[in-house]
Symmetry: C2
Subunit: 232 residues, 2 copies
């Protein structure tokens, strides 16, 4: 079996924000697919401090992994070994390459068990006040300036044309620049939700305003994890 | 403040599947917006059995509610009363009209606090093995046969053209018919994930197969809550 194990969105999140089942599933195995060894050890320690770190068998699964690199783990799984799959933040397989292993499990009739946990995308959406019946998540916006501008205007157009909420992200150290771009390229009446520091017990910031309003009260978003939503 | 409070996806879900914070937030107030009084009382009892049901003040927020109907609650919120917002299943404001109140809160500078809980849509997506960087949720498919066929083929086309995973649902008593339609209208090589009974401790069913494979092993989905995902 493959357990899809959530991580925290913020290192400050209290343990009460998480289902006890997360700990129970971490206890079931020492074998994990991880995107980054150091942060994953921290996540495992957070949920399960009594687990012996030296017993852990971690298999790197990042954007450079090909299914073929993971042969040893796959052999173990075929022999009945259960694995956990951990992401850097929130639920695995969203904006990370975890889905490669999930796909392999389906192709090999190995059961996949998702464990409840926080997803910043969906928490941002429900907190935005926008259409939650129909929405699109676009992941990270393009880095190239021209492409980014085009994408931002495409998203605004999609909201107007289809009514679907449009969710996207940026690498946190570029968040302030993204907000500048949104203010520059979007219609002043377009509504934007910024959901930053989700699940932070004291510094969570979630607000929906028109672009013309954001212009006059730009929050400090540098290096702060944030999700952006356009909608109506 | 408005607390966005998750409900269970399955009545059989054990309490360990849920963050203790859900109970803590339910304890903070007796005022709730609910889609259905009876089921919401059950959800409150599940998380917080010691709460006195006779103390609860429930305000109906369903698809017939207009913001104007909720004036009494809005006056209370403006005076500082905290409210919870509960959905029928999973997170509020997705495939339910809860976003009306969230929108009003943003317009009136009232803080919105999302509480972590299960979302069947996102759990289905991460369990599918499909692209989790880019995806669209379409809510319920159209009831009209012609429109439904057109939509199904549009979704397949979107996967091929854009690579975005396509997520949708059906009223549970029409799930078997939907699967028939998917088999009839989609290419045999198209991949479909069916995620049924998510969070059910024993009857959870999550599988990704090609349409040609589903044809030969149709699961019984009648009245079983399910999420469907197309992707690659």
């Amino acid at each position: 079996m493959l357990f899809l194990i959530p991580a925290y969105l913020s290192e400050e999140s209290p343990i009460e924000y998480f289902a006890p089942a997360i700990k129970e599933y971490i206890q079931k195995t020492n074998y994990f697919f991880v995107e980054n060894e150091k942060t994953s050890r921290k996540v495992i320690k957070f949920f399960c401090p009594e687990k012996k770190q030296s017993d852990l068998k971690l298999f790197l699964l990042d954007k450079y992994s090909e299914t073929v690199d993971l042969k040893e783990a796959q052999k173990l799984m075929k022999d009945g070994q259960d694995f956990g799959l951990l992401s850097e933040a929130g639920l695995p397989c969203i904006a990370d390459p975890g889905n490669l292993m999930v796909k392999w499990c389906h192709e090999n009739s190995i059961k996949v068990i998702p464990i409840n946990g926080p997803s910043s995308i969906i928490l941002a959406l429900i907190s935005s006040g926008f259409n939650g019946q129909e929405f699109t998540f676009h992941g990270y916006l393009p880095i190239d300036k021209g492409e980014k501008k085009q994408k931002i205007q495409f998203l605004e157009n999609q909201v107007q044309k289809t009514g679907y909420s449009q969710i996207f992200m940026e690498t946190p150290y570029r968040n302030n620049q993204l907000l500048e771009d949104l203010i520059k390229f979007l219609n002043p009446n377009t509504k934007l939700c910024i959901a930053a520091n989700i699940n932070h017990p004291t510094e969570e910031f979630i607000k929906t305003l028109k672009i013309s309003e954001w212009k006059n009260k730009k929050p400090e978003l540098h290096k702060i994890p944030a999700v952006f939503v356009l909608g109506n």
